[in-house]
Subunit: 174 residues, 2 copies
DNA sequence: GTCTATAATTTGATAGAC
DNA sequence: GTCTATCAAATTATAGAC
């Protein structure tokens, strides 16, 4: 694995744990066994690193759910994919960045926004009677998932994710 | 208004904008017109200040929704109360703190957790056929609301909050 | 209750040798 | 691609005068 990939891996772990301001270039350097100045050789600034990470993360996520059939099956695939964020109690990368948006470099917030638009458009397919209805449902389900991660994390009980994001009694969708 | 209240007001604005690490004691001092060292006279540490803020914020929120009748009316009251967070595009205080949880002082995360437990217990009343069902629904609706704020904020469109949190076509609840 | 002064640490980033 | 050395700025916090 390349050093750049190792740096992105470490950054992903740390951002999901404590947010954009929850890690430093020195932390990354220690994690991969180089010096903090060398990190700048791979990514010129912290903002550039996080934008690159967001793009890698978005691509991987969309690859994961790409094979799912439109409609309820795809929604289930999304729920399962986001559920992995909770491995170790971490947030969804885009959820943290969105929550901290006001204190972040604009390109970073834009990257998070691009992911959400992409996910909404994809999840919306076949989710409603009309395209507009599908989009509304996709938006609502994504919101529920992001919020479920926050609640499960804050209340320190990963099982709450399933209750909050998947209990069919609430949406009547699945 | 006391200086302490002014400091909490400023901190609330800044945390909702950029998170726990999105402001400093100097920022607060400038906002209320004193020096950064004087802030420590009112709150010994940053963590203590945010815990005090979380408690004030939780009390105010519960006061706001206290008069609502159990069931769907109370849910509507919750949605409206959280909606105010979006005034100016800010996050819900507890939502940001929960998202950044891994990088925060434990007492701060605990304070956020206490609010969510309190809100869930209160919102659950009359929301389901059984107490357990009410709790599940309360959890799911709170998740939807928190996620809706994140999405509306990240996509820079406050109207998306209503679509994500309140579209009745999704939950069939209201 | 507010001030000045300052300590101790951390941060993101740069210059230039190897 | 990694290093040493370093910078300027910001951070939380403390001591003690007024």
């Amino acid at each position: 694995m390349s050093t750049a990939d190792g740096l992105l891996d470490a950054a992903e772990r740390m951002i999901r744990e404590g947010g954009y301001h929850g890690f430093s270039f020195r932390d990354l350097a220690v994690a991969v066994g180089i010096r903090s100045a060398s990190v700048h050789h791979h990514f010129p600034t912290k903002a550039a690193l996080v934008v690159a990470l967001a793009e890698r993360c978005a691509d991987r996520f969309m690859d994961t759910v790409a094979g799912s059939a439109p409609g309820p099956a795809r929604l289930a695939a999304y729920r399962a994919a986001f559920r992995q964020s909770l491995g170790g109690g971490g947030m969804c990368l885009f959820g943290v960045l969105g929550a901290e948006a006001g204190g972040l470099p604009v390109p970073v917030v834009d990257a998070a926004g691009r992911f959400f638009r992409r996910a909404i458009a994809h999840l919306a397919e076949g989710l409603g009677e009309t395209p507009a209805e599908g989009e509304r449902r996709a938006l609502a389900e994504l919101a529920r998932i992001e919020g479920a991660i926050i609640l499960a994390r804050t209340l320190r009980d990963p099982e709450l994710y399933d209750v909050a994001a998947e209990s069919s009694g609430v949406t009547g969708l699945v």
